[in-house]
């Protein structure tokens, strides 16, 4: 769809992507401190991926989707295992992932790793939605 001579779009995307990505990561990591968390952070990360995809032309996405699906599955397996650990061995989880002082970054107990896992999953899934549905018929 997009020819090769749109240098402006590519340059703008290259400049903007790192900032969007960092903002998304910030929201995901500070889920337990500021409003946000895994879901909204993941969507912002996905938006930077989508910006990259549009700027570099909507080419075929077969292998890319499988890779994204792999990342989402691995993140979800970690999510499930942390969650199962929290259910069956609660005291062990509190020792490994301490609650810490409510206010600084590493303080949410199991909340931070879960947030990161959900951030990965939502980012990959939103990207997959865009790739598949956005592709021309």
């Amino acid at each position: 769809m997009i020819e090769d001579n749109d240098i402006i779009l590519k340059q703008a995307a290259r400049v903007l992507t790192p900032f969007i990505l960092i903002y998304g990561i910030y929201i995901t990591f500070h889920g337990h401190l500021t409003p946000g968390g895994g879901f909204s952070g993941g969507t912002v990360i996905a938006s930077s991926l989508i910006l990259n995809r549009i700027s570099s032309g909507n080419h075929g996405s077969g292998p890319e989707i499988d890779r994204m699906m792999g990342i989402a599955s691995i993140a979800l397996v970690c999510y499930g295992l942390i969650k199962a650990m929290g259910t069956f061995f609660p005291d062990f989880t509190h020792r490994v992932l301490p609650r810490g002082i409510p206010g600084d970054l590493l303080s949410g107990g199991a909340i931070l790793p879960l947030n990161i896992a959900v951030g990965f999953v939502v980012a990959c899934v939103m990207y997959i939605f865009f790739c598949l549905i956005g592709e021309e018929a």
């Binding site: 337990h32 303080s107 959900v118 999953v121 997959i128």
Partner: protein
């Protein structure tokens, strides 16, 4: 003709719904049944029990974490279903 019956039906449903609204607890009043001992414990103890300053995230990922576990599955399953329907090579048709 169909439009009239549908209109009447919706009008009737609206009347039923509005009659229940007139009986629902006051909007925004502190004495609503939803502001009971449950929500006050969430707000009061979440910093100590879950270490999360953002109470909503504390509820999602610690108090009611099983909901969010089910919800992560919802996203995963929706992604799988979309891939199974639209993935390349899906030109089989009938």
């Amino acid at each position: 003709m169909k439009r009239i019956t549908v209109g009447l039906l919706l009008g009737a449903m609206l009347v039923v719904l509005l009659s229940t609204v007139s009986e629902m607890p006051q909007f925004g009043s502190p004495s609503n049944p939803t502001h009971n001992y449950i929500s006050s414990r969430y707000v009061g103890k979440s910093a100590l029990e879950t270490g999360a300053v953002n109470v909503v995230t504390g509820i999602i990922l610690d108090y009611r974490a099983f909901d969010t576990f089910g919800e992560a599955t919802v996203i995963f399953v929706a992604a799988l279903a979309v891939i199974s329907v639209l993935a390349r090579g899906g030109r089989s048709g009938d």
